[in-house]
Symmetry: C2
Protein backbone atom coordinates (compact mmCIF):
# COMPACT_ATOMS: atom_id res chain seq x y z
CA UNK A 1 0.00 0.00 0.00
CA UNK A 2 2.80 2.38 0.93
CA UNK A 3 4.68 2.02 -2.35
CA UNK A 4 1.38 2.18 -4.28
CA UNK A 5 0.53 5.54 -2.70
CA UNK A 6 4.15 6.73 -3.12
CA UNK A 7 4.01 6.06 -6.88
CA UNK A 8 0.46 7.41 -7.39
CA UNK A 9 -1.05 3.97 -8.08
CA UNK A 10 -3.52 4.54 -5.24
CA UNK A 11 -5.11 7.61 -3.62
CA UNK A 12 -3.84 8.29 -0.07
CA UNK A 13 -7.35 8.80 1.33
CA UNK A 14 -8.64 5.62 -0.28
CA UNK A 15 -5.87 3.52 1.23
CA UNK A 16 -6.20 5.12 4.69
CA UNK A 17 -9.92 4.30 4.78
CA UNK A 18 -9.43 0.60 3.90
CA UNK A 19 -10.51 -1.69 6.77
CA UNK A 20 -9.53 -5.20 7.80
CA UNK A 21 -11.95 -8.00 8.75
CA UNK A 22 -12.33 -6.46 12.23
CA UNK A 23 -13.31 -3.10 10.73
CA UNK A 24 -10.05 -1.36 11.75
CA UNK A 25 -8.94 1.22 9.16
CA UNK A 26 -5.36 1.57 7.90
CA UNK A 27 -5.38 5.11 9.34
CA UNK A 28 -6.39 3.89 12.81
CA UNK A 29 -3.81 1.10 12.69
CA UNK A 30 -1.03 3.53 11.68
CA UNK A 31 -2.00 5.96 14.47
CA UNK A 32 -2.08 3.06 16.92
CA UNK A 33 1.53 2.05 16.20
CA UNK A 34 2.74 5.68 15.88
CA UNK A 35 3.47 5.44 12.13
CA UNK A 36 0.97 8.10 11.01
CA UNK A 37 3.67 10.77 10.50
CA UNK A 38 3.69 14.34 9.15
CA UNK A 39 5.56 13.82 5.88
CA UNK A 40 3.44 12.88 2.86
CA UNK A 41 4.17 9.43 1.37
CA UNK A 42 5.34 10.99 -1.91
CA UNK A 43 8.77 11.38 -3.61
CA UNK A 44 10.46 14.63 -2.43
CA UNK A 45 12.77 14.74 -5.48
CA UNK A 46 13.73 12.62 -8.48
CA UNK A 47 14.81 9.13 -7.51
CA UNK A 48 18.00 7.87 -9.15
CA UNK A 49 17.36 4.16 -8.49
CA UNK A 50 15.48 1.82 -6.16
CA UNK A 51 16.83 -1.35 -4.57
CA UNK A 52 14.92 -3.81 -2.34
CA UNK A 53 15.80 -6.98 -0.43
CA UNK A 54 12.99 -9.47 0.12
CA UNK A 55 12.67 -13.12 1.11
CA UNK A 56 12.13 -15.38 -1.89
CA UNK A 57 8.86 -16.90 -0.56
CA UNK A 58 9.72 -19.97 -2.62
CA UNK A 59 12.18 -22.88 -2.49
CA UNK A 60 14.49 -22.23 -5.48
CA UNK A 61 17.45 -20.48 -3.79
CA UNK A 62 17.48 -22.93 -0.89
CA UNK A 63 17.39 -25.92 -3.24
CA UNK A 64 20.24 -24.45 -5.29
CA UNK A 65 22.16 -23.60 -2.09
CA UNK A 66 22.45 -20.00 -3.29
CA UNK A 67 22.68 -17.02 -0.89
CA UNK A 68 21.25 -14.31 -3.11
CA UNK A 69 18.82 -14.11 -6.04
CA UNK A 70 18.96 -11.18 -8.45
CA UNK A 71 15.41 -10.79 -9.74
CA UNK A 72 15.19 -10.01 -13.47
CA UNK A 73 11.42 -9.60 -13.31
CA UNK A 74 8.14 -10.74 -11.82
CA UNK A 75 5.37 -12.91 -13.25
CA UNK A 76 2.30 -11.38 -14.82
CA UNK A 77 -0.98 -12.71 -13.48
CA UNK A 78 -4.72 -12.99 -13.72
CA UNK A 79 -7.17 -13.26 -10.84
CA UNK A 80 -10.46 -14.87 -11.81
CA UNK A 81 -13.69 -15.67 -9.98
CA UNK A 82 -15.78 -18.62 -11.16
CA UNK A 83 -19.31 -19.48 -10.03
CA UNK A 84 -20.91 -22.83 -10.82
CA UNK A 85 -24.70 -23.14 -10.66
CA UNK A 86 -26.27 -26.54 -10.05
CA UNK A 87 -29.53 -27.59 -8.46
CA UNK A 88 -30.26 -28.27 -4.77
CA UNK A 89 -31.61 -31.78 -4.08
CA UNK A 90 -32.08 -34.01 -1.07
CA UNK A 91 -28.97 -36.13 -0.44
CA UNK A 92 -31.10 -39.23 0.18
CA UNK A 93 -33.85 -39.75 -2.36
CA UNK A 94 -32.39 -38.01 -5.43
CA UNK A 95 -30.67 -40.59 -7.68
CA UNK A 96 -27.19 -39.72 -8.93
CA UNK A 97 -28.22 -39.57 -12.60
CA UNK A 98 -30.74 -36.81 -11.85
CA UNK A 99 -28.29 -34.59 -9.96
CA UNK A 100 -26.65 -31.35 -11.07
CA UNK A 101 -24.19 -31.07 -8.21
CA UNK A 102 -22.32 -27.74 -8.25
CA UNK A 103 -19.63 -29.11 -5.89
CA UNK A 104 -18.91 -32.19 -8.02
CA UNK A 105 -18.46 -29.89 -11.04
CA UNK A 106 -16.30 -27.47 -9.03
CA UNK A 107 -14.12 -30.31 -7.70
CA UNK A 108 -13.66 -31.44 -11.28
CA UNK A 109 -12.65 -27.85 -12.17
CA UNK A 110 -10.12 -27.61 -9.31
CA UNK A 111 -8.47 -30.80 -10.58
CA UNK A 112 -8.46 -29.55 -14.19
CA UNK A 113 -7.02 -26.17 -13.13
CA UNK A 114 -4.22 -27.90 -11.17
CA UNK A 115 -3.41 -29.92 -14.34
CA UNK A 116 -2.93 -26.66 -16.30
CA UNK A 117 0.10 -25.85 -14.13
CA UNK A 118 3.30 -26.18 -16.18
CA UNK A 119 1.14 -27.78 -18.90
CA UNK A 120 0.76 -25.38 -21.85
CA UNK A 121 3.88 -23.45 -20.81
CA UNK A 122 6.77 -24.40 -18.53
CA UNK A 123 6.25 -21.56 -16.07
CA UNK A 124 2.48 -21.50 -15.57
CA UNK A 125 1.37 -21.68 -11.92
CA UNK A 126 -2.32 -22.05 -11.01
CA UNK A 127 -3.97 -21.92 -7.57
CA UNK A 128 -7.54 -22.13 -6.31
CA UNK A 129 -7.44 -20.37 -2.92
CA UNK A 130 -10.96 -19.11 -2.10
CA UNK A 131 -13.80 -21.59 -2.26
CA UNK A 132 -17.34 -21.39 -0.87
CA UNK A 133 -20.27 -23.78 -1.17
CA UNK A 134 -24.01 -23.09 -0.88
CA UNK A 135 -26.26 -24.08 0.85
CA UNK A 136 -23.41 -25.81 2.77
CA UNK A 137 -25.74 -28.33 4.39
CA UNK A 138 -24.82 -31.95 5.10
CA UNK A 139 -27.89 -33.50 3.43
CA UNK A 140 -28.44 -31.09 0.52
CA UNK A 141 -26.77 -31.39 -2.90
CA UNK A 142 -24.89 -28.06 -3.37
CA UNK A 143 -26.49 -25.67 -5.86
CA UNK A 144 -23.77 -22.99 -6.02
CA UNK A 145 -20.01 -22.91 -5.63
CA UNK A 146 -17.84 -19.80 -6.02
CA UNK A 147 -14.05 -20.02 -6.20
CA UNK A 148 -11.02 -17.94 -7.12
CA UNK A 149 -8.31 -18.79 -9.62
CA UNK A 150 -4.80 -17.31 -9.46
CA UNK A 151 -2.88 -17.82 -12.72
CA UNK A 152 0.72 -16.63 -13.26
CA UNK A 153 3.39 -16.71 -15.95
CA UNK A 154 6.32 -14.48 -16.94
CA UNK A 155 4.85 -14.36 -20.45
CA UNK A 156 1.77 -12.13 -20.80
CA UNK A 157 0.47 -14.04 -23.83
CA UNK A 158 0.65 -17.23 -21.80
CA UNK A 159 -1.51 -15.63 -19.08
CA UNK A 160 -4.06 -14.71 -21.77
CA UNK A 161 -4.01 -18.27 -23.16
CA UNK A 162 -4.34 -19.63 -19.61
CA UNK A 163 -7.56 -17.71 -19.07
CA UNK A 164 -8.95 -19.22 -22.29
CA UNK A 165 -7.90 -22.71 -21.17
CA UNK A 166 -9.67 -22.25 -17.83
CA UNK A 167 -12.87 -21.16 -19.57
CA UNK A 168 -12.77 -24.30 -21.76
CA UNK A 169 -12.21 -26.53 -18.73
CA UNK A 170 -15.23 -24.94 -17.01
CA UNK A 171 -17.35 -25.61 -20.11
CA UNK A 172 -16.27 -29.26 -20.03
CA UNK A 173 -16.92 -29.90 -16.34
CA UNK A 174 -20.29 -28.12 -16.50
CA UNK A 175 -21.43 -30.08 -19.54
CA UNK A 176 -20.47 -33.32 -17.76
CA UNK A 177 -22.50 -32.52 -14.63
CA UNK A 178 -25.37 -30.54 -16.17
CA UNK A 179 -24.39 -27.34 -14.40
CA UNK A 180 -23.78 -23.78 -15.63
CA UNK A 181 -21.03 -21.28 -14.86
CA UNK A 182 -19.95 -17.65 -14.89
CA UNK A 183 -16.31 -16.60 -15.10
CA UNK A 184 -15.19 -13.07 -14.23
CA UNK A 185 -11.66 -11.70 -14.46
CA UNK A 186 -11.07 -9.56 -11.34
CA UNK A 187 -7.82 -8.11 -12.61
CA UNK A 188 -4.86 -8.84 -14.83
CA UNK A 189 -1.37 -7.38 -14.51
CA UNK A 190 1.41 -7.72 -17.05
CA UNK A 191 4.82 -9.10 -16.07
CA UNK A 192 7.38 -6.66 -14.62
CA UNK A 193 10.92 -6.40 -16.02
CA UNK A 194 13.36 -4.67 -13.68
CA UNK A 195 16.08 -2.27 -14.83
CA UNK A 196 18.81 -4.29 -16.62
CA UNK A 197 21.32 -1.55 -15.65
CA UNK A 198 20.62 -1.86 -11.94
CA UNK A 199 20.44 -5.66 -12.18
CA UNK A 200 23.92 -5.64 -13.73
CA UNK A 201 25.26 -3.41 -10.95
CA UNK A 202 23.79 -5.80 -8.38
CA UNK A 203 25.38 -8.73 -10.21
CA UNK A 204 28.78 -6.98 -10.10
CA UNK A 205 28.29 -6.36 -6.38
CA UNK A 206 27.43 -10.03 -5.84
CA UNK A 207 30.55 -11.09 -7.75
CA UNK A 208 32.71 -8.83 -5.51
CA UNK A 209 31.04 -10.27 -2.40
CA UNK A 210 32.01 -13.86 -1.54
CA UNK A 211 28.40 -15.12 -1.64
CA UNK A 212 26.82 -17.41 -4.20
CA UNK A 213 24.14 -15.84 -6.37
CA UNK A 214 21.89 -16.48 -9.40
CA UNK A 215 19.50 -14.56 -11.64
CA UNK A 216 15.88 -15.51 -10.94
CA UNK A 217 12.27 -14.65 -11.90
CA UNK A 218 9.92 -13.74 -9.05
CA UNK A 219 6.47 -15.27 -8.65
CA UNK A 220 4.91 -12.45 -6.63
CA UNK A 221 4.90 -8.65 -6.76
CA UNK A 222 6.74 -6.51 -4.20
CA UNK A 223 7.23 -2.76 -3.63
CA UNK A 224 9.88 -2.80 -6.38
CA UNK A 225 7.13 -3.51 -8.95
CA UNK A 226 5.54 -0.11 -8.29
CA UNK A 227 8.84 1.76 -7.96
CA UNK A 228 9.97 0.29 -11.27
CA UNK A 229 7.43 2.58 -12.97
CA UNK A 230 9.00 5.82 -11.70
CA UNK A 231 12.71 4.93 -11.52
CA UNK A 232 15.28 2.20 -12.28
CA UNK A 233 14.39 -0.52 -9.80
CA UNK A 234 15.87 -3.88 -8.91
CA UNK A 235 15.07 -6.59 -6.36
CA UNK A 236 17.21 -9.02 -4.35
CA UNK A 237 15.97 -12.29 -2.86
CA UNK A 238 17.37 -14.18 0.10
CA UNK A 239 16.33 -17.82 0.64
CA UNK A 240 13.21 -18.83 2.57
CA UNK A 241 13.75 -22.01 4.59
CA UNK A 242 11.51 -24.73 3.08
CA UNK A 243 10.12 -21.99 0.83
CA UNK A 244 7.65 -21.14 3.60
CA UNK A 245 5.90 -17.78 3.72
CA UNK A 246 2.68 -16.17 4.95
CA UNK A 247 2.74 -18.42 7.98
CA UNK A 248 4.62 -18.59 11.28
CA UNK A 249 7.30 -20.93 9.93
CA UNK A 250 8.68 -18.14 7.67
CA UNK A 251 12.44 -18.05 8.32
CA UNK A 252 15.74 -16.98 6.69
CA UNK A 253 19.20 -18.06 7.95
CA UNK A 254 21.47 -15.28 9.33
CA UNK A 255 24.18 -16.26 6.82
CA UNK A 256 21.81 -15.52 3.93
CA UNK A 257 20.51 -12.30 5.49
CA UNK A 258 24.12 -11.07 5.86
CA UNK A 259 24.92 -12.05 2.25
CA UNK A 260 21.85 -10.16 1.02
CA UNK A 261 22.66 -7.06 3.04
CA UNK A 262 26.30 -7.16 1.86
CA UNK A 263 25.31 -7.23 -1.82
CA UNK A 264 22.64 -4.60 -1.18
CA UNK A 265 25.18 -2.27 0.49
CA UNK A 266 27.83 -2.74 -2.24
CA UNK A 267 25.26 -2.11 -5.02
CA UNK A 268 23.85 0.92 -3.19
CA UNK A 269 27.36 2.41 -2.87
CA UNK A 270 27.93 1.85 -6.58
CA UNK A 271 24.59 3.50 -7.46
CA UNK A 272 25.31 6.43 -5.11
CA UNK A 273 28.69 6.96 -6.79
CA UNK A 274 26.92 7.14 -10.19
CA UNK A 275 24.66 9.86 -8.84
Amino acid sequence: MGSGVFTDKFETEEILSNTDRDGISVEAALQNIGYDGESPAKPMEDIHAYLEVHIEQGPVLEQNETNVGIVDGVFGMSWLEATIYGEADHAGPSPIHSRNDALVAAADAVTAIRRLSNRFSDDVVTTVGEFSVSPDSINVVPDEVTFSIDLRSYDDDTVARGVEHIEKELETVCEREGTEFELEELWRIPHTEFSPTVCDIVTEAATESDCSYQRIIGGAGHDANYLNDITDAALLFVPSVDGKTHNEAEFTEWEDILAGVDVFARATNQLADQN
Copy 2:
Protein backbone atom coordinates in the same frame (compact mmCIF):
# COMPACT_ATOMS: atom_id res chain seq x y z
CA MET B 1 -38.12 -33.18 16.54
CA GLY B 2 -41.78 -33.63 17.50
CA SER B 3 -41.91 -37.36 16.73
CA GLY B 4 -38.49 -37.84 18.35
CA VAL B 5 -39.74 -36.33 21.64
CA PHE B 6 -43.04 -38.24 21.33
CA THR B 7 -41.17 -41.58 21.08
CA ASP B 8 -38.58 -40.74 23.79
CA LYS B 9 -35.67 -40.48 21.29
CA PHE B 10 -34.98 -36.94 22.53
CA GLU B 11 -35.53 -35.10 25.83
CA THR B 12 -38.24 -32.41 25.63
CA GLU B 13 -36.08 -29.77 27.37
CA GLU B 14 -33.09 -30.50 25.12
CA ILE B 15 -35.16 -30.03 21.96
CA LEU B 16 -36.88 -26.86 23.24
CA SER B 17 -33.50 -25.25 23.98
CA ASN B 18 -32.09 -25.93 20.46
CA THR B 19 -31.43 -22.68 18.56
CA ASP B 20 -31.26 -21.83 14.86
CA ARG B 21 -28.50 -19.76 13.18
CA ASP B 22 -30.17 -16.56 14.44
CA GLY B 23 -30.10 -17.82 18.05
CA ILE B 24 -33.89 -18.33 18.25
CA SER B 25 -34.81 -21.37 20.39
CA VAL B 26 -37.42 -23.95 19.40
CA GLU B 27 -39.37 -22.94 22.52
CA ALA B 28 -39.42 -19.26 21.51
CA ALA B 29 -40.41 -20.14 17.94
CA LEU B 30 -43.29 -22.38 19.15
CA GLN B 31 -44.53 -19.64 21.52
CA ASN B 32 -44.28 -17.12 18.70
CA ILE B 33 -46.60 -19.12 16.41
CA GLY B 34 -48.92 -20.21 19.27
CA TYR B 35 -47.93 -23.90 19.10
CA ASP B 36 -46.47 -24.16 22.64
CA GLY B 37 -49.56 -25.93 24.08
CA GLU B 38 -50.42 -27.47 27.45
CA SER B 39 -50.50 -31.18 26.52
CA PRO B 40 -47.19 -33.02 26.72
CA ALA B 41 -45.87 -34.38 23.40
CA LYS B 42 -46.16 -37.97 24.66
CA PRO B 43 -48.48 -40.91 23.82
CA MET B 44 -51.62 -40.79 26.05
CA GLU B 45 -52.37 -44.49 25.50
CA ASP B 46 -51.16 -47.46 23.43
CA ILE B 47 -51.08 -46.73 19.72
CA HIS B 48 -52.55 -49.41 17.45
CA ALA B 49 -50.82 -48.25 14.27
CA TYR B 50 -49.25 -45.16 12.65
CA LEU B 51 -49.75 -44.00 9.07
CA GLU B 52 -48.09 -40.99 7.37
CA VAL B 53 -48.32 -39.36 3.94
CA HIS B 54 -45.22 -37.53 2.72
CA ILE B 55 -43.90 -36.20 -0.58
CA GLU B 56 -41.35 -38.54 -2.17
CA GLN B 57 -38.58 -35.86 -2.39
CA GLY B 58 -37.26 -37.85 -5.35
CA PRO B 59 -38.20 -38.50 -8.99
CA VAL B 60 -39.16 -42.21 -9.03
CA LEU B 61 -42.99 -41.99 -8.75
CA GLU B 62 -43.21 -39.16 -11.28
CA GLN B 63 -41.01 -41.02 -13.76
CA ASN B 64 -43.14 -44.16 -13.35
CA GLU B 65 -46.35 -42.06 -13.61
CA THR B 66 -47.50 -43.57 -10.31
CA ASN B 67 -49.83 -41.71 -7.91
CA VAL B 68 -48.84 -43.38 -4.66
CA GLY B 69 -45.76 -45.08 -3.26
CA ILE B 70 -46.08 -47.59 -0.41
CA VAL B 71 -42.78 -47.39 1.47
CA ASP B 72 -41.41 -50.75 2.60
CA GLY B 73 -38.51 -49.14 4.44
CA VAL B 74 -35.95 -46.34 4.58
CA PHE B 75 -32.22 -46.36 3.81
CA GLY B 76 -29.67 -46.66 6.59
CA MET B 77 -26.97 -44.01 6.55
CA SER B 78 -23.68 -42.69 7.82
CA TRP B 79 -22.70 -39.06 8.28
CA LEU B 80 -18.96 -38.45 8.20
CA GLU B 81 -16.72 -35.43 8.60
CA ALA B 82 -13.36 -35.41 6.85
CA THR B 83 -10.56 -32.88 7.37
CA ILE B 84 -7.56 -32.68 5.03
CA TYR B 85 -4.39 -30.99 6.27
CA GLY B 86 -1.98 -29.51 3.72
CA GLU B 87 0.49 -26.66 3.92
CA ALA B 88 -0.11 -22.97 3.25
CA ASP B 89 2.13 -21.51 0.54
CA HIS B 90 2.23 -18.38 -1.61
CA ALA B 91 0.27 -18.90 -4.85
CA GLY B 92 3.02 -17.23 -6.86
CA PRO B 93 6.52 -18.40 -5.98
CA SER B 94 5.84 -21.92 -4.71
CA PRO B 95 6.36 -24.45 -7.52
CA ILE B 96 3.65 -27.07 -8.01
CA HIS B 97 5.92 -30.00 -7.11
CA SER B 98 6.56 -28.52 -3.66
CA ARG B 99 2.90 -27.96 -2.80
CA ASN B 100 0.69 -29.91 -0.39
CA ASP B 101 -2.59 -28.33 -1.40
CA ALA B 102 -5.46 -29.38 0.89
CA LEU B 103 -8.05 -28.20 -1.66
CA VAL B 104 -6.55 -30.17 -4.55
CA ALA B 105 -6.65 -33.31 -2.35
CA ALA B 106 -10.21 -32.54 -1.20
CA ALA B 107 -11.38 -31.98 -4.79
CA ASP B 108 -9.87 -35.34 -5.66
CA ALA B 109 -11.79 -36.84 -2.71
CA VAL B 110 -15.11 -35.28 -3.79
CA THR B 111 -14.67 -36.84 -7.23
CA ALA B 112 -13.74 -40.23 -5.74
CA ILE B 113 -16.72 -40.14 -3.34
CA ARG B 114 -19.09 -39.35 -6.21
CA ARG B 115 -17.70 -42.38 -8.08
CA LEU B 116 -18.60 -44.63 -5.11
CA SER B 117 -22.31 -43.94 -5.79
CA ASN B 118 -23.96 -47.08 -7.19
CA ARG B 119 -20.48 -48.57 -7.52
CA PHE B 120 -19.94 -51.28 -4.90
CA SER B 121 -23.69 -51.77 -4.49
CA ASP B 122 -26.62 -50.79 -6.72
CA ASP B 123 -28.33 -48.55 -4.17
CA VAL B 124 -25.44 -46.57 -2.65
CA VAL B 125 -25.92 -42.78 -2.72
CA THR B 126 -23.09 -40.44 -1.67
CA THR B 127 -23.16 -36.65 -1.21
CA VAL B 128 -20.64 -34.04 -0.12
CA GLY B 129 -22.80 -31.15 1.13
CA GLU B 130 -20.75 -29.08 3.61
CA PHE B 131 -17.33 -27.89 2.50
CA SER B 132 -15.07 -25.21 3.96
CA VAL B 133 -11.58 -24.08 2.99
CA SER B 134 -8.90 -22.36 5.08
CA PRO B 135 -7.35 -19.78 4.96
CA ASP B 136 -9.74 -19.06 2.03
CA SER B 137 -7.47 -16.44 0.52
CA ILE B 138 -7.05 -15.87 -3.22
CA ASN B 139 -3.22 -16.04 -3.24
CA VAL B 140 -2.58 -18.66 -0.55
CA VAL B 141 -2.45 -22.42 -1.16
CA PRO B 142 -5.17 -23.87 1.15
CA ASP B 143 -3.83 -25.69 4.22
CA GLU B 144 -7.07 -27.13 5.58
CA VAL B 145 -10.35 -28.33 4.10
CA THR B 146 -13.25 -29.81 6.11
CA PHE B 147 -16.19 -31.49 4.42
CA SER B 148 -19.16 -33.72 5.19
CA ILE B 149 -20.04 -37.03 3.57
CA ASP B 150 -23.58 -38.43 3.50
CA LEU B 151 -23.66 -42.14 2.58
CA ARG B 152 -26.87 -44.17 2.29
CA SER B 153 -27.97 -47.68 1.41
CA TYR B 154 -30.88 -49.97 2.35
CA ASP B 155 -28.33 -52.57 3.39
CA ASP B 156 -26.55 -51.83 6.69
CA ASP B 157 -23.48 -53.91 5.75
CA THR B 158 -23.16 -51.86 2.58
CA VAL B 159 -23.11 -48.65 4.63
CA ALA B 160 -20.31 -50.14 6.75
CA ARG B 161 -18.36 -51.14 3.60
CA GLY B 162 -18.97 -47.65 2.18
CA VAL B 163 -17.31 -46.01 5.16
CA GLU B 164 -14.26 -48.27 4.65
CA HIS B 165 -14.17 -47.39 0.94
CA ILE B 166 -14.23 -43.67 1.76
CA GLU B 167 -11.34 -44.05 4.19
CA LYS B 168 -9.29 -45.83 1.50
CA GLU B 169 -10.06 -43.10 -1.03
CA LEU B 170 -8.90 -40.44 1.44
CA GLU B 171 -5.65 -42.36 1.98
CA THR B 172 -5.10 -42.43 -1.79
CA VAL B 173 -5.78 -38.75 -2.47
CA CYS B 174 -3.66 -37.67 0.52
CA GLU B 175 -0.73 -39.84 -0.52
CA ARG B 176 -0.91 -38.34 -4.02
CA GLU B 177 -0.82 -34.72 -2.78
CA GLY B 178 1.35 -35.15 0.32
CA THR B 179 -1.45 -34.17 2.67
CA GLU B 180 -2.91 -35.84 5.78
CA PHE B 181 -6.49 -36.44 6.89
CA GLU B 182 -8.82 -37.20 9.77
CA LEU B 183 -12.15 -38.95 9.29
CA GLU B 184 -14.84 -38.91 11.97
CA GLU B 185 -18.20 -40.67 11.85
CA LEU B 186 -20.80 -38.23 13.24
CA TRP B 187 -23.55 -40.84 13.40
CA ARG B 188 -24.80 -43.98 11.76
CA ILE B 189 -28.37 -45.21 11.68
CA PRO B 190 -29.51 -48.64 10.49
CA HIS B 191 -32.17 -49.01 7.79
CA THR B 192 -35.83 -48.95 8.86
CA GLU B 193 -38.30 -51.66 7.84
CA PHE B 194 -41.93 -50.65 8.24
CA SER B 195 -44.68 -52.98 9.48
CA PRO B 196 -45.40 -55.55 6.73
CA THR B 197 -48.96 -55.90 8.15
CA VAL B 198 -49.72 -52.18 7.80
CA CYS B 199 -47.98 -52.02 4.40
CA ASP B 200 -50.25 -54.85 3.20
CA ILE B 201 -53.34 -53.02 4.46
CA VAL B 202 -52.20 -49.88 2.62
CA THR B 203 -51.63 -51.96 -0.53
CA GLU B 204 -55.17 -53.38 -0.27
CA ALA B 205 -56.50 -49.83 0.13
CA ALA B 206 -54.54 -48.68 -2.94
CA THR B 207 -55.95 -51.60 -4.95
CA GLU B 208 -59.52 -50.60 -3.94
CA SER B 209 -58.82 -46.97 -4.90
CA ASP B 210 -58.55 -46.26 -8.64
CA CYS B 211 -55.04 -44.83 -8.37
CA SER B 212 -51.79 -46.36 -9.58
CA TYR B 213 -49.31 -47.41 -6.87
CA GLN B 214 -46.04 -49.20 -6.30
CA ARG B 215 -43.90 -50.46 -3.41
CA ILE B 216 -40.82 -48.27 -2.92
CA ILE B 217 -37.77 -47.79 -0.64
CA GLY B 218 -37.34 -44.30 0.87
CA GLY B 219 -34.04 -42.43 0.81
CA ALA B 220 -34.68 -40.18 3.80
CA GLY B 221 -36.14 -40.63 7.27
CA HIS B 222 -39.51 -39.18 8.30
CA ASP B 223 -41.66 -39.16 11.47
CA ALA B 224 -42.73 -42.73 10.64
CA ASN B 225 -39.16 -43.93 11.32
CA TYR B 226 -39.43 -42.95 15.00
CA LEU B 227 -43.05 -44.12 15.37
CA ASN B 228 -42.09 -47.50 13.88
CA ASP B 229 -40.22 -48.22 17.14
CA ILE B 230 -43.30 -47.95 19.38
CA THR B 231 -46.08 -49.21 17.09
CA ASP B 232 -46.82 -50.70 13.64
CA ALA B 233 -45.97 -47.86 11.28
CA ALA B 234 -46.21 -47.37 7.54
CA LEU B 235 -45.50 -44.50 5.14
CA LEU B 236 -47.12 -43.35 1.89
CA PHE B 237 -45.37 -41.21 -0.75
CA VAL B 238 -46.98 -38.91 -3.30
CA PRO B 239 -44.89 -37.72 -6.28
CA SER B 240 -42.65 -34.62 -6.16
CA VAL B 241 -42.70 -32.72 -9.48
CA ASP B 242 -39.17 -32.97 -10.93
CA GLY B 243 -38.17 -34.70 -7.68
CA LYS B 244 -37.59 -31.24 -6.17
CA THR B 245 -37.51 -30.70 -2.43
CA HIS B 246 -35.98 -28.40 0.19
CA ASN B 247 -36.37 -25.49 -2.18
CA GLU B 248 -39.19 -23.20 -3.36
CA ALA B 249 -39.92 -25.34 -6.44
CA GLU B 250 -41.22 -28.19 -4.22
CA PHE B 251 -44.66 -29.14 -5.67
CA THR B 252 -47.13 -32.03 -5.84
CA GLU B 253 -50.09 -32.17 -8.29
CA TRP B 254 -53.62 -32.06 -6.78
CA GLU B 255 -54.48 -35.36 -8.51
CA ASP B 256 -51.64 -37.09 -6.64
CA ILE B 257 -52.47 -35.42 -3.32
CA LEU B 258 -56.09 -36.63 -3.64
CA ALA B 259 -54.93 -40.15 -4.52
CA GLY B 260 -52.61 -40.18 -1.49
CA VAL B 261 -55.34 -38.92 0.84
CA ASP B 262 -57.84 -41.45 -0.55
CA VAL B 263 -55.51 -44.40 0.09
CA PHE B 264 -54.60 -42.95 3.50
CA ALA B 265 -58.29 -42.66 4.48
CA ARG B 266 -59.18 -46.16 3.25
CA ALA B 267 -56.22 -47.71 5.09
CA THR B 268 -57.00 -45.73 8.27
CA ASN B 269 -60.62 -46.99 8.21
CA GLN B 270 -59.37 -50.54 7.82
CA LEU B 271 -56.91 -50.15 10.72
CA ALA B 272 -59.62 -48.52 12.90
CA ASP B 273 -61.97 -51.45 12.20
CA GLN B 274 -59.21 -53.86 13.36
CA ASN B 275 -58.94 -51.96 16.61
